[in-house]
């Protein structure tokens, strides 16, 4: 028996251990695929690279960004925001709502539309959606519907909402929530209703084929690989002009391809295997991608807020003068130019500048136009006036800036060392770096600050749960375009464990204006109240608004044209409805 060159094992057995079979198999696969041409069905499918696949297609459960991306092309709201001015425009509704102040009601007239299974979309679907959310108290949606007292459906294309009290967010949030099909969800609701934990039963319902009214419908989901949404032949917008835009879709569908890392997705974008990587790029990728003539980098503002917060429940952070001095010492130009590499904007208030309707520009700009020496002198002046002393002041007798040492509080006690908590660099290098820079700027005046990166879960638990901290750098990447979060972040009622008022800001005047703002139905009056709230926050500084990074996205230009830019980027329903194959 020939055994030379082979490894044989066992007690005298002749089982081969050579591995030649495996190698041969691998070689065959390699050769076959090198010979295979790139296969395509020829349809103009848009290929979208994403980092994760959706966790669920059950819209009531799906809270992750990846599920939202897919579901946003299937389920549609009554009103949506148009891309240029972000104004609300009728979408499943036919025209603007009619407000009746006497009855505190809104009448909505529906467009003639069909679900993706061909059945008509009617007012009872809208009423069913609202009742479902209220009955099951569905998280993330309930707050948009809880104040709706009653819904009447006088005919299939008319819905009347009766509100319990005036609520400004009705237009911006309630009417922009997606509507589900009664036919599909009624049996699920009946099943869940019988369960002891009815909400859990509703959330745990698997939805294989969501029926929607959007421009696309689910064709196939290969778990772990891709999701294919084909064009919905029943889409109400096809061939129509809405908000001054001619809608398709003009593409055969969308394939969402799943990538685990940005690196892999970007390589496939360069290779031409995907048309867009639907995720913000790090600035470091930009130069390389710009060298490719078929790739375009599109820059858009985000509806984000990155800020430094203080714990106002403890000294010395409960001292406004100290917070103002910190705001003065922070060099926002450095943050934007160096840390964000120019891909961001400075923030002076807690509403991002991209949200032009609600952003207040008339607020105090603490460090604007000051160089390092001027910032230190101004901060020194603020603190000195408030009674702070130094063993070695940062500005000497001749007016020269030196390193400050031994800062003392107005009561004479030395300022204790304090910590600025930040997310770790592997989670967000920019926030971690901002923490380090703030530490350095504060040390120049003698404040014993130390930046401390901490695992994100631990950080939020410490800040929001235990509320045991000095200061922190955190951010929101995707704030609602309605500014009601300003109220939620700073109203004193939310100063509680796990509450949204993390700083412990407590201002009765702010509370009063905030409550008034949420009940003000007149847009202009509400706008003035929101401006007033921002001015109070910027004056009191529970948060120091720092920056808002730009959203950088990369798209290929050789297959499709017509990307629509808006806040939060070009990956939006308008783009998918307007893109045309080249």
């Amino acid at each position: 028996m020939k055994t030379g060159g082979r490894c044989v094992m066992g007690y005298g057995s002749s089982r081969s251990f050579s591995g030649c079979g495996f190698l041969r198999f691998a070689l065959i696969i390699l050769v076959v695929f090198l010979a295979l041409p790139a296969m395509s069905n020829g349809a103009p499918l848009l290929k979208v690279g994403v980092l994760e696949e959706p966790k669920s297609l059950n819209i009531w459960l799906a809270s992750d960004a990846w599920s939202s991306r897919v579901l946003s092309e299937i389920y549609q709201p009554l009103f949506t925001r148009e891309p240029s001015k972000l104004a609300l425009v009728p979408w499943l509704a036919e025209k603007d709502p009619v407000y009746d102040p006497a009855n505190l009601s809104y009448t909505i007239y529906l467009r003639e539309a069909k679900w993706s299974d061909g059945t008509p979309f009617t007012s009872s679907d809208v009423a069913f959606t609202a009742r479902l959310v209220k009955e099951f108290r569905v998280p993330r949606f309930l707050s948009n519907w809880s104040f709706v007292k009653e819904i009447a459906t006088p005919d299939p294309r008319t819905v009347i909402f009766y509100l319990e009290e005036p609520m400004a967010t009705f237009l911006t949030r309630t009417l922009t929530t997606p509507i589900v099909q009664e036919k599909q969800w009624k049996p699920i609701v009946e099943y869940a209703r019988k369960k002891e934990k009815s909400l859990a039963a509703l959330l745990n319902q698997k939805v294989d084929y969501p029926v929607g009214t959007g421009p696309f419908r689910l064709k196939e989901w290969r778990q772990g690989a891709y999701i294919f949404l084909e064009t919905n032949p029943n889409f109400f917008g096809t061939g129509k002009r809405i908000a001054g835009r001619d809608l398709g879709p003009f593409i055969g569908g969308i394939v969402f391809k799943n990538y685990g890392t940005s690196d892999a997705a970007i390589l496939d974008l360069k290779k031409g295997s995907i048309d867009i990587f639907w995720w913000g790029l790090q600035a470091g990728y930009v130069d390389d991608l710009q060298k490719d003539k078929n790739i375009r980098i599109i820059t858009n503002e985000k509806s984000g807020l990155y800020y430094m917060g203080f714990n106002l429940r403890k000294a010395p952070f409960n001292d406004k003068a100290l917070r103002k001095s910190v705001a003065t010492l922070i060099d926002k130009d450095f943050i934007v130019d160096r840390i964000l590499q120019g891909f961001g904007v400075k923030m002076d208030t807690v509403v991002p500048p991209a949200n032009r309707l609600w952003c207040c520009t008339e607020v105090e700009k603490y460090c604007e136009g000051l160089n390092k020496e001027q910032r230190i002198k101004k901060a020194f002046g603020i603190l000195s006036e408030a009674g702070y002393k130094w063993d070695e002041p940062p500005v000497d007798g001749s007016g020269k800036v030196v390193k400050g040492k031994g800062i003392r509080l107005p009561d004479g006690t030395p300022m204790a060392a304090f910590t600025i908590l930040t997310p770790p660099a592997d989670y967000d290098p920019q926030r971690a770096m901002v923490g380090t820079m703030v530490q350095e700027w504060l040390r120049e005046i003698g404040m014993p600050a130390s930046a401390k990166p901490m695992a994100f879960g631990s950080l939020t638990e410490q800040v929001k749960g235990r509320r045991d901290f000095d200061a922190f750098v955190l951010g929101y990447g995707k704030l609602s375009l309605d500014p009601d979060y300003v109220r939620n972040f700073f109203v004193s009622a939310n100063d509680k464990p796990q509450g949204w008022n993390m700083s412990g800001y407590n201002n009765k005047e702010f509370d009063r204006v905030a409550e008034q703002s949420v009940k003000e139905m007149d847009l202009e009056k509400r706008r003035e109240l929101v401006m007033q709230m921002q001015r109070m926050v910027v004056d009191d500084l529970p948060y120091i608004p720092l920056y808002n990074p730009m959203l950088l996205e990369a798209v290929r230009t050789d297959r499709f044209t017509g990307w629509v830019s808006m806040v939060e980027g070009v990956g939006n329903t308008w783009s998918f409805c307007e893109l045309k194959p080249r």
């Binding site: 055994t3 030379g4 060159g5 490894c7 044989v8 094992m9 005298g12 251990f17 591995g19 495996f22 691998a26 696969i29 076959v32 695929f33 295979l36 395509s40 069905n41 290929k47 994760e52 966790k55 669920s56 459960l61 809270s63 992750d64 108290r137 998280p139 993330r140 309930l142 707050s143 809880s146 934990k197 909400l199 859990a200 959330l203 745990n204 698997k206 290969r222 778990q223 772990g224 891709y226 294919f228 394939v255 391809k257 799943n258 990538y259 685990g260 890392t261 892999a264 360069k270 695992a455 879960g457 939020t460 638990e461 410490q462 749960g465 009601d484 939620n488 939310n494 509680k496 796990q498």
Partner: protein, 325 residues
């Protein structure tokens, strides 16, 4: 009788170990920072509604009651529903497990075969340049940083040369093509497996080569090898039929344990290659505080590793009678 007593003792030990693991896992996730429901709650949600959600997920029960439910559920095979998928945990795991097993078992078996073969050659040529090159090569590939190697392979073979797909398990071009047959789809999966398999192969085969080499060198000193030589057998027969089978035993043990551990995939490999396996799922479950999914995944790993240990113990007890006493 001895073997029966030995096995009973080992099974009791394994059951105790498993129970400890069960308890530690439960506590670990509860002690970890973070909140599984925070992402489902928006700022305007009232405290009562947030409480309602927490209660619905069973997180408002006292910790001891949660523990009892957890133990009871485990023994009745009910691992609960994933907080994020909203589906039974076992279903989520079973969907991902075949992908992990396919990739990892094939790569471990392939690397073991090659490692044994090359280890045998290296030991046979001890002190010669071939041995030195093989040993150095094995050390280098075994110690290389896996994500780096994976990215280099992707860059060269997938991006620059275009021979293989960059990531994933299938191509939509083939799977969406109604004319594509089963063979084309199977080959597509094979095509996608080449680079992740090559990465895992590079990382693993070195250790098998080194174990085999060292074991073979010991075996070659045995008297029966001398006897075989004295009988005038050919060198290749002595190497392949007499020395290699016995020298391969430690490698077989190592492969057995590696196969057991392969169930957790290797989050790094699966992430870099976007391989939809259990390793990536595990990382996601831990980072998102998806207690039911994370607990079940870890328990499955613990169960398989303990079972593999038991099998190895049984094998050893049969092979080496001293162990039974």
């Amino acid at each position: 009788m001895e073997i029966k007593r030995y096995l009973t003792r080992r099974i009791i030990q394994i059951l105790v170990s498993f129970f400890v693991i069960l308890t530690v896992l439960f506590l670990l996730f509860r002690l970890a920072p973070g909140d599984p429901v925070s992402r489902m709650i928006d700022p305007s949600m009232s405290p009562e509604d947030a409480e309602h959600l927490i209660a619905q997920l069973g997180l408002r029960e006292p910790i001891w009651r949660q523990y009892l439910v957890y133990v009871k559920n485990f023994f009745t095979g009910d691992f609960g529903y994933s907080f994020h998928y909203g589906r039974p945990v076992l279903k989520v795991i079973w969907e991902k497990l075949p992908n992990t097993l396919l990739l990892f078992t094939s790569s471990i078996i392939l690397s073991a075969l090659v490692g044994i073969f090359l280890g045998k050659i290296a030991a046979w040529n001890k002190g010669k340049p071939l041995d030195s090159w093989m040993t150095i090569g094995a050390l280098v590939t075994h110690t290389v940083f896996l994500p780096w190697l994976a990215l280099i392979l992707i860059w060269v073979f997938a991006y620059k040369l275009g021979w293989f797909p960059i990531t994933g398990i299938i191509s939509e071009e083939i799977w969406l093509d109604p004319d594509a047959g089963a063979l084309a789809k199977a080959l597509d999966v094979g095509h996608h497996m080449v680079l992740p398999m090559a990465t895992l192969f590079c990382i693993h085969f070195g250790s098998y080569l080194l174990i085999m080499r060292s074991s073979m060198l010991e075996t070659l000193k045995e008297d029966y090898i001398l006897t075989a030589r004295a009988k005038g057998l050919r060198e290749s027969v002595i190497r392949d039929r007499h020395a290699a089978p016995n020298a391969a035993l430690p490698v077989v043990t190592s492969v057995g344990l590696s196969l057991a551990f392969s169930i957790n995939g290797g989050a790094l490999t699966e992430t870099v290659f976007t391989w939809p396996g259990i390793g990536r799922e595990l990382v996601f479950a831990v980072s998102q505080n998806d207690y039911p999914l994370a607990q079940a995944s870890f328990l499955l790993i613990a169960l398989v590793v303990l079972a593999a240990n038991l099998v190895v113990d049984i094998l050893y007890a049969y092979l080496d009678p001293r162990i039974r006493y």
